[in-house]
């Protein structure tokens, strides 16, 4: 916004210093920032999905997954349920702190962290027992790229949750919205990680 002043009578002097930041979007900047970051992440995943669908639709092998690859659909299904459960626990943590329940916040955060770590452990275990690697044909490359990209996001999410959990045990965070942004922002990121896995699992393992 530009301003222009015509000196008329006394100076207009009730305001000192730079103007307050405008916030017409009505979302605090941290929350808006994580949503914008997620938009860029969606594009990143989109590029990997484009490669996946290119391989599947354009190269069009007679069977999918192509011979001799086989995916552990049931184990990955259980792992999906574990990760989706963690969305409920992080939501529980946030609902707790919104009501001033610090115990619920801590419990929710610890459970979320444990579920996320379990997911990552099962995924690494799956990699060990799959019987093919990222070097095995296009399918191996794209499978490990997509699930690995997601795994990296889970790892980053776990780091963020670790910070939030440590802070919660140190007595940080409060019921007011601006006092628990340190949980709200990782929570939004965690939901995004869950949604991306739902899409990855449905696309790669099921369809």
């Amino acid at each position: 916004m530009e301003s222009a002043t015509v000196t008329l009578g006394h100076a207009h002097d009730e305001h000192h210093g730079p103007p307050e930041a405008h916030a017409s979007s009505r979302i605090d900047r941290q929350t808006l920032g994580i949503f914008l970051f997620i938009v860029s992440e969606v594009m990143l995943f989109g590029a990997f999905f484009a490669a996946y669908f290119f391989l599947r639709v354009v190269v069009d092998p007679p069977t999918w997954p192509p011979e001799p690859f086989e995916l552990p659909v049931a184990v990955a299904g259980v792992n999906t349920a574990i990760l989706v459960s963690s969305s409920f626990t992080i939501h529980y943590a946030l609902e707790s702190i919104r009501r001033g329940n610090r115990k619920g916040l801590k419990l929710g955060l610890v459970l979320t962290w444990l579920l996320g770590a379990t997911f990552l452990f099962i995924q690494v275990n799956e990699y060990v027992h799959l019987g093919f690697s990222a070097r095995d044909l296009g399918f191996g490359s794209i499978f490990y790229s997509l699930t690995g990209l997601h795994g990296a996001h889970v790892f980053v999410g776990l780091l963020l949750l670790s910070f939030a959990t440590i802070r919660a045990f140190r007595g940080h965070f409060g019921p007011k919205a601006e006092d628990h942004l340190g949980v709200e922002v990782p929570g939004i990121y965690w939901h995004f990680v869950d949604v991306m896995w739902i899409v990855v699992y449905t696309t790669v393992y099921i369809l």
Partner: protein
Amino acid sequence: MHNPLRSEADAFKWVVLIGAGAVSVIVLTLLTRPVVGVIWAAALIGFGVGFGCRAARGSLPRDVALTRGGDGRFRLLVVANETVGGMALLDEIRDRCRNRDCQIFVVTPALAASRAAHWASDVDEAMVLARQRMELSLIAIGELGLKAKGEIGDSDPNVAIEDALRVFPADEIVISTHPPERSGWLERGVVERAREQIDLPIAHVVVDLAAERAVR
């Protein structure tokens, strides 16, 4: 239109919706064939996009935060664009400031020539014109013996008012428009929206520039 994703709670709702949709796709695929699951998934994605657009429709109700000067001065916020130099508006300002230590802040929204220009942020010309009008209006207000300052505002008049209130602790607001048959602001409900959002007295002044020119 507004962003339907504004908090973790909103994001969680979408996780539940997407999760439920994915379960239906997985069950259908396992019971039938992958192609059926793909068709159902495509239908759900289409439904989801439609649902998202519907949820994003309209503006959220908002309350504009106010600050007050508290020094006994009467502060008047004037919002006007093409009508900023109109006689009816100047009369209104003079009436409101009579026998008062009055401070006036004129906000002139820089209106883009078209919707395309607005989205492309092509408002340079609009800002130049708005600035010229505002400066002339400040001189006209000065000729009434009143103190005034001005600012070019956002092209959305309601956002411009909200922005101005962050730096100017107004006691009253005057919004000036063309007559109803020629006013885009009235068509868009600018005055009604301002009255809903802002807990301050808001006066609406209609300036008929054509009629004023005819009188002169």
